[in-house]
Symmetry: C2
Subunit: 189 residues, 2 copies
Amino acid sequence: MKKIKIDPSPNAYRLLNPGAVTLISVGDGKADNLFSVTWNMPLRREPSIVAMLSCKGNFSYTFIVTTGVFAINISSTKIAGAVLGCGRTTGSKVPDKFARFKLTRQVSEKIKAPLVEEAVGNLECRVSQIIDLGASSLILANILSATVAEEHYKDGGWCYDNGLELLHHLGGNSFAASTHEIVVKIPEE
Amino acid sequence: MKKIKIDPSPNAYRLLNPGAVTLISVGDGKADNLFSVTWNMPLRREPSIVAMLSCKGNFSYTFIVTTGVFAINISSTKIAGAVLGCGRTTGSKVPDKFARFKLTRQVSEKIKAPLVEEAVGNLECRVSQIIDLGASSLILANILSATVAEEHYKDGGWCYDNGLELLHHLGGNSFAASTHEIVVKIPEE
């Protein structure tokens, strides 16, 4: 999939806007890991800041805290099985989730964690704040760099013309697919 | 649209999982307002907690702080125009957005803010924590009560069998529609 680089702000946050499930990649240059996260959202456009929730008990949580970086990889329906698998397995037992779920490491520009080549969009992030919520933490991070599939990006946002289907988690093994774009007008009075 | 009541936990958070844009309703029993929010997410299943971002300058922000409650109304493509309109107008100039955008007030069970009848799901929420982020605040809230369109809910989550199309914001006037469900298996080794 041919990727293009886009500016981290003001529009990179739009890759997260439709609410697709993501694969979070972490790594310190020696080891890496992947886990699935639906609970994320943009927080600011410029400079671009995102938030995501992570349980402190997650195998990857230590990577995030110690390296201060992670990447958000945005999922289409083509990698639905891998997304489910990465969410149901732990890096403590599956040390190479890229190999286990047939995903390819894409070289990052600014962080040590690898990106997921098969994801339709990738956001390299640096942690700016960790908000303690007990068993979990809300992790705030700046977007440092962003890449997106060229065929699925137009006019500063997702383009569904070329068969894009973003993957949205419903719960359990169930997901939904977003399949087309709607351009909306404000109703007249 | 016939709505059914569902338990606030453990599954009500699933109404937010696919990332549809929401209409936030606020009110104090005398006045009310609506605004559109894409930047929200679940934070916990049991007890169910959600997070959303609100600019402090929003007309509705004062309602949220003073009443301590609001409702999250989940949008289908049928109300796309109203969602865009509620996001592009301010309650300081449009005092009755329900009337302006042809939406109907649905009586709440536990809060003073009205719900949006035309939304496919409604979560009544009580603020539990406000995290100051400068010009905006991250508002954490417990789900007190939840209703959902009966024809679009099955087995504890969204059901796309009956023509459900959730509305996802891409940016500007552009939205995407999620149109069908996919049941996924973990790939074999």
